[in-house]
Subunit: 701 residues, 2 copies
C-alpha cells in the first residue's frame, strides 16, 4: 500500500474550500439532494457545485453537467451516482486536483464480486493520487465548525449539530446517525462526525489520528465493528493518548451471534473479542458496553478533568443515595476512602447527627440550612484528597428558588478549588441543568451512572499519567529467529525461547538409556524423561512423559518404555531419544502463550495452569510487544493471582521473574510475527526464586 | 409481637374515608401544610380535618384544637408534631377508632435512646389496637386512584402522580421521592407510593403483600436497605409471585462502605449481601443495580407480557445495531436463535441482500419500502418461536410522516399476534412515543437497555411458570435435632447429618491401635485415620489426620502418632481415640455449608473444594429450606461445574446425589434454626455413583 498519508491529509475532507456534489438532486429529501440542502442551511461559505447530467438549477444553485465543466477541481467531491459510474468520476476529479471524495453509493464490496473490483480500483486511485476517499457505502460527515455537512442522514432534519468538543466516527452509517441524534439531544457539542462505510481508504484509525491532532476535538467517540490494520489502529489510539484525549469506543460483535452478524455486515476481519478487550485496555480506551454508557462517558469527558486518583468523595442529602453511590463506586473500582479524623470532627461539630466519614450526609437538615452543603462539600474538597466529589441533591434544582440557592451554596464551596471535578446527581429542567453545567458541574439524574462516569474519567487520568508505561525490553542480541516452515521439537522450541530471554529448565538429550542415566546423574535426581521428537507435539497423550524418577534403574526402565510407546503410537515419527530434565517441585504452574490473531497479530496470553486456564478460562491477553508494567498488570488481573501471592499459606512466588519472562516473550513474538501460528510455554513454573519453562511448543507457519 | 394483621389491614392507610392532620400548618410549604395542600389539590373526597392547638382556619378548612374535638375518629391520622407528643396522640386516636397513622416526625430510634423508647411504644400501640402505624421518620404516601397524597415530599410540587400499574415502596424517603420523580418523568403510572421510615410497624414486606393483593397494582417496585423479618419478607415476595406480579428491587448496601453507611442510616440488620442475592434469586425478584435499570424493568413490566422462553428475535434497519443487540442479548442470557430455514428462504426471496438468520436486517432498502418491516416482523412473529421481538428503527418515528407510516407497517405485522411482545428501539418526540406505546409497543432509545428489559421480562415469565419449584423434601422421621450447647465431634456431627439424609462415609471409632487395625480390616484397605475428640474441631491443623494407610502396621503407627500429636498440641482436649474410615479415591471434592445469617437465618452454601471456594470464592447460596430444583440450579451455577460434568476427560459425577444431599441439608438446617452457628460438610465427595461426606463440623449455639 505504500506510505500512508498523514492525518493532516484529512483536512481537505473536513475543511474544504470548495465542494461539488455529483448526482445532485433538486429534491432536498433525496440522497443527492440532502447534502446540498444541508450545506446551504449550514451556511457553508465556499462554492457548492451541483453536478447533474441534466444541468439547469438545483436547489437554487446553477448545476454543471459534468465534472469537467467545473471552473476548477472541487477540494472535496461528494458522490451520489450509481456504483458503475463512481470510479471514473473519482479518478478524473482526483487527477484534476480534488483532495477528498465522499462516496455515498452502495453496490461495492458489500454487494458482489463486481463491486469488489470497483472498490479495489478506488483503493488504487486513493493510493496513486493521494486523494482521500471516504466510503463507498457511507452516510457522509459533518464539521460543525463551518456549517459543512455533506451527508444524507435524515437525522439532521431534526436539528443541526452544536459545535463542541466531541469528534465522532462510526463504521455504521445508521448507528452513527443514531449516536449523533442522542448526542445532540443531550446537548453535547461536536466538532466532527464521520461515517466510514466500506473503508476503501479513510478508516476509523485515520479519523482517530486526525481527531488526536485537531485542536478543537477534545474527546473522541468511535463505533467499531472490526479493524483491518493493527498498527495504524494502535498508533492512532496511542496518538490520542499522547494528546491526552480520551477515546470512548463501542466495539460490537462480542457475542458469537453478534460477531457472525458483524462479518456479514462489513468486510472487516473481526478479530477475537478478547483481543480487542486487551488492545483497548492497553491503550487506555474506555470500551463502552452500551450506547448510553458511551454517551455518559463522552459527556463527562467534555468537562476536561481527568483525576489521577481513584478516591471518590460523596456528599448526600439522603443516606439511601449515599449507600447506593458507595455500592456503585466499589463496582466501578473507585475508593470511597474515609475523611481524615480532624475533618470528620469538624463536620460533627457543625451537625452532630450527620454521617461524616464518607459518604458524608447532611441529612434533611440541609433543607433548613443550605450552608451545610457549602461546609460539607468544601471540607471534602479541601481535606479528603479525593479526585472527584459526587453530590446527591435530588430535585432541589428543579425548583428555581431552591435551585438558585443551592447553586450559590455550591459556588461558595468550589470557589477555592478550580479545576476539581464536582458531579451532581440531580433532577432539574433542562434549562436549570444548563445553568449548573455552565457553572462547571457535570449533571446526572442517575447516581449510579454518575459514579460510572467518574470512574471512567479517573481511568483516563491514570492512563494519561502513565502513558505507554515501561517500554518493551530490547530483543536480546542473541535471539534466534523462529525458522518458519520447520517442525520444531520441544528441545528446539525451548532453545529458541532461551535465546529470547525466557528461562527454561536445564535438560539433556539422551539417545540411549545409558546416556539417559548419565545425564540424570549429572543433573541430579529426581528427574523427568520426555520423548524427544519433532513429530510428536503432544507428548503426554502418547504416554511419552515419566515424572519423578529417583534413580538410574528407574531412568533406564522409563527410557525403554517411552521409546517403545512412541514407536507403537507414532510409528512414522522421527525419534531422537528422550530429554532428561530435573524434576521441579513446588511453585505454581502457569501458562504463557502467544496466538497470532487475525486482526492484531501476536497476542500474549497468561494464566495459571490446569483448571484455571482450561475450565475457568481465567486468562488474560495483551497485544505484543509490551513492557514490565503491562506484564505485572496481567499477572495481577487473573483471578488465581492469590496462588502466586501467598494465599492459603503458600509461599509468595517470584512474580517479577514471571513478568520479565512475559515481557521477553512478547518482544520475541512481535519480532517473529508471521513465522509462527502459536507458542505455548506450558507449564511455566514460578518458584519462590526464579521461574522456569518446563515444556514449550512452537507451531511454525 | 403476636399474630400479624393481614395485608387487607393496610386498606385504611391507602383508602381512608376520612383523614386528620395533627400539627397542620397554614403554610402549604411546611411539613404540616403540604399534606393538606396535596389532599385538597388531589381532590380527596373524604373530610380533611386539620388539627392545630391554635384552631382557626387552615388552608381554608376549619381547624380543630385537639383530636378529641373531631366529630369522629379519622380513619387515618397524619402526624407532624414533635416526637415527644406523638405517642399519646396516636394512642388516643387508635383507641377512639383510627385504623392507620402516618408519622412524619423524626427523633425516634434513628436519633437516641429516648427516641427508641418512644418508638417501642408505637410498636406496642400498633400491636394492641390494630391501628397500622407508618414511620416514624417517614415522608408519607400517596394513592393516586383517589387523589390521596398525605406526604410532605416536595416532589409533588413539580407534578402529581399519574394513576397506573406500579406500586412503589421505599425505606428511604429522599430516595423514594427521587424514584417517584423519575417514574413520573417517564410517564409511568403508579397506583400507590409509600415511604416506610423507621418501620415501627408497617414495613416493606407488609406493603409488598398489600400490593400483591391490590387489583390495580400490576408491578411492584421496592427500594430496600435491610429487612428485619425474613419470613414475612419471603412470604410477601412469594405472594407477589403467586399473583404473577413482578417485583423489581434495589437492595443497596452491597459494598463494604455501602453496608456500613446503610447501618448508620437505618436500624435494620443488613444481612450479608450475597444472602440477599440468593433470596431474591430464589423468589424471582429482579434485583436492579441502578435506578435506571429499575425503572427500565418497571416500565417494561407494565406492558404485562412475560414470555416463558428466552428466545429473542431481532429485526433491524442497521446491521450495526443488530450486532450490538445480539451482544446485549448474550450478556443478559437471551438466545438469538436462528429463524427456521424456510422462513429465511422466504425473506431472502423478498430481499436478496438482506440478512435473514436473526438478527434480520431489512437494510436501508427499508427506507424505500416500509412493507419490508411488515414482512420481516410478521415472519419473526409467526415462524421464529421467539418470546419477544426487538426492532431497531432509529429516528424514523421522529418524523411525523415516516413515523405514522412505520406505525401502520408494524400494525399490519402484529395484527395477527395479539399479546406478543414487540419492543422498539427508536428516537421520537414524547408525543409520538406515547402513540407507539398506546399501540402496544414498548419504546427504548438505547437498544442495550431494551434487550436488558426483555431479558428481565423473560426471567419473570419463567419464574411465574415455575412458581416455587419442587418443594423441600420432608425431614426424615428419624432426624435427630442438633443438641444446642453441646460440643460435637466429627463422628457425632456426621451421625446427626446421616439421620438428616446426608450420606456419610462409613467409619468406626477405635480407642486403641488394635481396635484401629481391626476396624481397618473390616472396612477394607486403604483407610484414613482421624483424631476423634469433641474439643478438636480443625484436625488437620494439629496433624490429626493420616491418609491412604495400606496395612495394619501403617494403621498402628498412625494411631500412635496421632494420639501423641493430639496430646502434645491440645493437652486439655478430651480424646476418644481415632476414627477409621475407608480412603475414598476419585470423584470431586465439594463443600456443603450452612451459615446462620442475621437477616435470613439458615442459608445453605455450595461450592467445589480447595481453591474454588477459598481462593476464587466460587460458591453459591440459597435460603433454607429448598427442594431439588433449587439444589440442581446451585450445582449448575458455580463456575467449577464442568469438573462435575465431565470436563477435561473426567467422568461425569453423580449430580443428582449431590442435589439430594443439598436439599436434605437445607431441610435439616431449617428445622434446627437457632441451634447451630454453622454446619460444614467438607469435603463432600461426589463420585460417579453416589456421594459421601468425609468430614463434617457443626458449631452449636
Amino acid at each position: 500500500m505504500g506510505l500512508r498519508p498523514s492525518p493532516e491529509s484529512l483536512r481537505s475532507l473536513f475543511w474544504p474550500r470548495s465542494v461539488a456534489v455529483l448526482g445532485a438532486s433538486n429534491d432536498p429529501s433525496r440522497i443527492g439532494g440532502r447534502p446540498i440542502r444541508y450545506l446551504k442551511e449550514g451556511g457553508f461559505r465556499g462554492p457548492i457545485w451541483p453536478i447533474n447530467v441534466k444541468g439547469g438549477t438545483i436547489q437554487g444553485l446553477p448545476a454543471f453537467k459534468t465534472i469537467d465543466e467545473l471552473p476548477e477541481a472541487p477540494e472535496c467531491l461528494i458522490v451520489a451516482v450509481p456504483a458503475a459510474a463512481v470510479c471514473d468520476a473519482v479518478e478524473a476529479a482526483a487527477r484534476r486536483g480534488t483532495r477528498a471524495a465522499v462516496i455515498f453509493s452502495a453496490g461495492f464490496a458489500e454487494a458482489d464480486d463486481q463491486g469488489r473490483i470497483w472498490q479495489d480500483r478506488l483503493v488504487a486511485i486513493a493510493a496513486e493520487t493521494g486523494c482521500r476517499v471516504v466510503g463507498p457505502n457511507c452516510l457522509g460527515l459533518f464539521n460543525s465548525r463551518h456549517g459543512y455537512a455533506p451527508t444524507f442522514t435524515a437525522s439532521l432534519d431534526h436539528g443541526y449539530p452544536k459545535a463542541g468538543a466531541v469528534g465522532m466516527v462510526s463504521q455504521s452509517g445508521a448507528y452513527g446517525s443514531h449516536l449523533f441524534v442522542l448526542t445532540r439531544d443531550r446537548n453535547i457539542g461536536m466538532s466532527c462526525w464521520l461515517t466510514t462505510g466500506n473503508e476503501s481508504d479513510v478508516d476509523v484509525a485515520d479519523t482517530i489520528a486526525y481527531f488526536a491532532d485537531d485542536p478543537d476535538t477534545k474527546v473522541i467517540a468511535a463505533y467499531v465493528e472490526g479493524i483491518k490494520d493493527r498498527d495504524r489502529f494502535l498508533g492512532a489510539l496511542e496518538r490520542a493518548r499522547a494528546a491526552k484525549k480520551p477515546v470512548v469506543m463501542m466495539k460490537v460483535g462480542r457475542s458469537a451471534v453478534g460477531a457472525a452478524a458483524a462479518v456479514s455486515h462489513t468486510a472487516s476481519l473481526a478479530g477475537s473479542d478478547v483481543v480487542y478487550d486487551a488492545a483497548l485496555k492497553q491503550l487506555g480506551v474506555h470500551r463502552a458496553e452500551t450506547t448510553e454508557e458511551m454517551l455518559d462517558v463522552v459527556y463527562a469527558a467534555t468537562r476536561g478533568i481527568f483525576p489521577e486518583t481513584n478516591r471518590l468523595g460523596i456528599v448526600t442529602i439522603s443516606g439511601g443515595a449515599g449507600v447506593l453511590m458507595a455500592d456503585a463506586a466499589e463496582r466501578h473500582g473507585l475508593d470511597v476512602a474515609p475523611m481524615p479524623d480532624a475533618a470528620q470532627a469538624r463536620l460533627k461539630a457543625i451537625l452532630p447527627f450527620a454521617a461524616v466519614r464518607n459518604p458524608v450526609d447532611t441529612t434533611a437538615q440541609f433543607f433548613n440550612d443550605m450552608s451545610l452543603v457549602t461546609e460539607f462539600t468544601r471540607t471534602l474538597l479541601g481535606d479528603g484528597g479525593y479526585g472527584a466529589i459526587a453530590a446527591f441533591v435530588t430535585a432541589i434544582p428543579r425548583n428555581r428558588e431552591t435551585g438558585g440557592r443551592l447553586k450559590d451554596a455550591l459556588a461558595k464551596a468550589t470557589a477555592d478549588f478550580p479545576g476539581r471535578l464536582l458531579v451532581l446527581c440531580m433532577l432539574a429542567t433542562s434549562e436549570m441543568t444548563r445553568e449548573y453545567e455552565a457553572a462547571g458541574y457535570l449533571c446526572f439524574e442517575d447516581p449510579s451512572r454518575a459514579v460510572m462516569a467518574i470512574a471512567a474519567l479517573s481511568r483516563f487520568g491514570r492512563s494519561f499519567a502513565r502513558g505507554a508505561g515501561s517500554p518493551p525490553p530490547a530483543l536480546p542480541a542473541g535471539a534466534k529467529p523462529i525458522p518458519a516452515g520447520a517442525a520444531l521439537g520441544e528441545a528446539e522450541a525451548k532453545a529458541l525461547l532461551a535465546t529470547a530471554g525466557v528461562p527454561v529448565a536445564a535438560e539433556k538429550l539422551a539417545r540411549t538409556s545409558d546416556e539417559a542415566a548419565t545425564a540424570a546423574a549429572s543433573l541430579g535426581y529426581p528427574v523427568v524423561l520426555k520423548v524427544a521428537s519433532p513429530d510428536i507435539l503432544h507428548k503426554t497423550e502418547i504416554g511419552g512423559v515419566r515424572l519423578d524418577l529417583a534413580d538410574a534403574a528407574a531412568v533406564r526402565t522409563a527410557f525403554a518404555e517411552i521409546v517403545a510407546q512412541a514407536r507403537k503410537e507414532r510409528p512414522t515419527a522421527r525419534l531422537d531419544g528422550c530429554l532428561v530434565a530435573p524434576m521441579i517441585k513446588g511453585g505454581a504452574e502457569t501458562i504463557l502463550g502467544v496466538i497470532h490473531d487475525a486482526a492484531f497479530g501476536p497476542v500474549v496470553m497468561f494464566g495459571l495452569g490446569g483448571i484455571f486456564a482450561e475450565v475457568l478460562k481465567d486468562v488474560t491477553f495483551r497485544i505484543a510487544p509490551f513492557g514490565l508494567d503491562e506484564a505485572r498488570a496481567m499477572i495481577r488481573e487473573v483471578k488465581g493471582f492469590p496462588l502466586l501471592d501467598g494465599a492459603r499459606s503458600r509461599p509468595k512466588l517470584d512474580q517479577e521473574a514471571l513478568a520479565t519472562a512475559l515481557a521477553a516473550l512478547s518482544v520475541y513474538a512481535a519480532a517473529n510475527a508471521g513465522r509462527f501460528r502459536s507458542i505455548d510455554v506450558n507449564p511455566f513454573i514460578v518458584l519462590e526464586r526464579g521461574a522456569v519453562a518446563v515444556d514449550a511448543l512452537i507451531e511454525t507457519t
